[in-house]
């Protein structure tokens, strides 16, 4: 009879065994977070201090100055007065509908997350491009990061660090960093072999090749990755608000639970406005920086 049972039913693990495994894993991780939680938290302290300082800075600065600075940066990056005007109008509207403070909070966390993602992602991408072994190791990790539902990795992060800004930042970075890593890797690998060979033939050191040839030539691709990273971290704002990250995500969360359609829509639109501004500015900048590469192929 035992034989027919595995033919008709999947030979699955005993319920008791499964429970034991779960228990021991959970207990083990709980133990680990009790043991090292504080140490790890203190490790992130400087980041937290910076985050808090940056958020306060944005909130304390007069609104017109913030708008002027952002519009100015947008203009400098894109050399398009239309984009600058768009920035001014969007922020005016955001402020008018009472979402100024939340927008500043969201912007501060997005900026910090993006900077962290670039600071971590570009070197990882470079390492991947230089070694096939690193690529073989990192690629599946990136696959997991991109497909694992965000809620799942929020659990251990929250267990370890509790609720607040730092776990939020970590969750956003995990979610948003893969594009910049992948596209840095891709960009460097796609650099014209002939140009690299020429650099080598003239005696360029590996570092000179990286900074003088590979990174500049891979820059359009890397910029596309950074652009994606910004977009993805913005889309993570709502989920991050579930673990206590303040900003535009919280009102959205509140609207979901209380069915406030208009509140949700307005805050959602504010996120979209931020996304579009970041996207257009970063793309315009990338395009302008690569102007002379146009028509390279038919040269």
């Amino acid at each position: 009879m035992a034989e027919s049972s595995w033919l008709t039913e999947f030979p699955q693990l005993d319920r008791a065994d499964l429970r034991d495994i779960r228990k021991s894993l959970d207990a083990g991780y709980r133990e680990f977070s009790r043991e090292y939680g504080e140490f790890i938290e203190s490790f992130f302290d400087p980041l937290l201090t910076f985050l808090v300082w940056f958020e306060k800075l944005l909130l304390a600065t007069p609104w017109w100055l913030v708008i002027a600075v952002i519009a100015g940066l947008a203009y400098l990056a894109s050399r398009s007065w239309k984009l600058g005007l768009g920035v001014v109008i969007s922020f005016m509207l955001i402020g008018y509908f009472g979402m100024w403070d939340n927008t500043m909070r969201t912007m501060s966390i997005i900026l910090v997350c993006t900077l962290m993602a670039i600071a971590l992602g570009v070197p990882i991408g470079i390492a991947m491009a230089r070694s096939d072994r690193a690529q073989a190791f990192v690629t599946p990790v990136l696959d997991v990061m991109q497909t694992m539902p965000a809620f799942v990795y929020l659990i251990p992060v929250v267990m370890l660090l509790g609720i607040g800004k730092i776990p939020g930042v970590i969750a956003v970075i995990i979610y948003a960093i893969p594009p910049v890593i992948r596209l840095t890797n891709l960009g460097i690998r796609l650099v014209d072999k002939d140009v690299m060979e020429a650099a080598t033939a003239y005696g360029a050191s590996p570092f000179q090749r990286l900074t003088g040839v590979q990174l500049p030539l891979a820059m359009p691709t890397i910029m596309a990755g950074i652009n994606q990273t910004i977009m993805m971290s913005l889309s993570m704002v709502v989920i991050a608000s579930m673990i206590g990250v303040k900003g535009l995500g919280q009102p959205v969360l509140k609207s979901i639970t209380n069915q406030y359609f208009t509140l949700g829509l307005l805050n959602g639109l504010a996120i979209v406005a931020l996304a579009i501004i970041f996207d257009r500015v970063s793309q315009a900048y990338a395009k302008r920086a690569q102007e002379h590469m146009k028509g390279l192929e038919n040269g």
């Binding site: 014209d192 060979e197 020429a198 005696g203 050191s205 003088g212 590469m293 146009k294 040269g299």
Partner: protein, 395 residues
């Protein structure tokens, strides 16, 4: 001029995962195809031995797949050989560590590439000074030098353009200027002109020849075009399936092809343009050293021809025919052999290409004398010789 600068000894390159394991097969003398079928390894280069002298243009010629681009990349170790010795100025390049190799590439050799290999994100002047920037030369100094070289290759005024804004020929001029800018003694040119259209190509060849007259670099030039090889090369090595099938001076290859393969190549060459008078002329026989008409006639009888070249202490004087001598003999047999008796004829220069001497050689009834700069008779060129050389079969 004659000292050897680059020496390559029994160089082998086997491409594949484990070349060392299969090298014995190569030494057994198995062919490229056999090795590929048995081991999946490609034999890139087989037993290459070359000696390149200081100040010469050494052309390595072969069709695609002959291993010529692989070979040139061994000179600066963009590709490492499986076996063999590469010596530059007597130093074994294979012994270099990473740092030494870097220094070696910076100062000893520079390279021009078939597809230019310019940095698309840098403007022309920064491209030209790239080698100097890598060396850490002061920016202003590097730039000044780059501007100078740009001027030399005829691209003054293009400093701030980007490579994508230039034509192919201009881009390769930038490539050439970049290579010259480091003052490296050795210039590696990998099919440098092959990507250019014919007119620009011959223009660039002229420029290279002109530059070489003043620079005296040691140039290793790769090409698949025999005409180009003959035009530029002081010596040529012909590569087939990774082996050198013949090496020697251009005339040598043209007139004495070592194998059928070389012969097939050589058949299509415009010999009239590739060969010079001195390479095909016959020895200077039929000298007439007599001072009087009578003696001259006697001398001419001796070599059974109806013409002769009059030569004295001051060198070549002119040509006399039997007919003219006999006429003069009837007049006054003891008279001096003077210019009056001689035919008016312009002697040929030894360095002239055959094409330029075809008309006068064909019109002349006797072989034309070849006379060097010092006025010495060095040879003679007949219609027969010319038609033999330019005809289907080599002389």
């Amino acid at each position: 001029m004659a000292d050897v600068l680059i020496e390559i000894e029994s160089l082998y390159k086997l491409f594949g995962n484990n070349p060392a394991k299969y090298m014995p097969l190569v030494h057994e003398g198995k062919s490229k195809d056999e090795i590929l079928a048995e081991t999946g390894h490609t034999l890139g280069l087989k037993d290459i031995n070359l000696q390149i002298k200081r100040g010469e243009i050494f052309v390595i010629m072969g069709l695609s797949g002959s291993g010529k681009s692989t070979l040139i990349r061994h000179f600066n170790r963009l590709i490492d050989p499986t076996e063999g010795v590469i010596k530059v100025e007597g130093t074994d390049v294979m012994q270099f560590g990473a740092k030494e190799l870097q220094e070696f590439r910076r100062h000893k050799m520079s390279m021009v590439f078939q597809r230019f290999g310019l940095l698309p994100h840098k403007n022309v002047v920064d491209n030209v000074s790239y080698g100097l920037q890598i060396q850490g030369v002061d920016r202003a100094e590097a730039k000044a030098k780059a501007v100078e070289w740009l001027d030399t290759v005829g691209l003054a005024g293009y400093e701030d353009q980007y490579p994508s804004q230039l034509s192919g020929g201009q881009q390769q001029r930038v490539g050439l200027a970049r290579a010259l800018c480091t003052d490296a003694e050795i210039l590696l040119m990998d099919e440098a002109f092959s990507a250019l259209d014919p007119l620009i190509r011959s223009e660039m060849q002229d420029q290279l020849i002109k530059l070489q007259e003043t620079l005296h670099k040691t140039i290793v030039f790769i090409t698949h075009d025999l005409d180009e090889a003959l035009r530029l090369g002081d010596r040529i090595a012909i590569l087939k399936d990774g082996e050198v099938v013949q090496q020697g001076e251009p005339e040598d290859i043209l007139l004495n092809p070592a194998t059928e393969y070389v012969e097939a190549f050589v058949r299509d060459v415009n010999r009239a343009r590739a060969l010079t008078v001195e390479t095909v002329m016959k020895d200077p026989a039929y000298r007439i050293t007599a001072e009087t008409i009578e003696e001259a006639l006697k001398q001419m009888k001796g070599f059974k021809q109806d013409y002769g070249y009059v030569v004295n202490d001051e060198g070549f004087q002119g040509v006399v025919t039997e007919e003219a001598l006999k006429e003069a003999y009837a007049d006054d047999k003891a008279a001096d052999l003077t210019v009056d008796v001689m035919e008016s004829c312009d002697p040929l220069e030894p360095g002239a290409v055959l094409e330029s001497v075809i008309p006068c050689t064909l019109e002349s009834e006797y072989p034309l004398p070849v006379v060097d700069e010092d006025g010495n008779l060095t040879g003679r060129l007949s219609r027969g010789t010319l038609s033999d050389v330019l005809g289907e079969r080599s002389a």
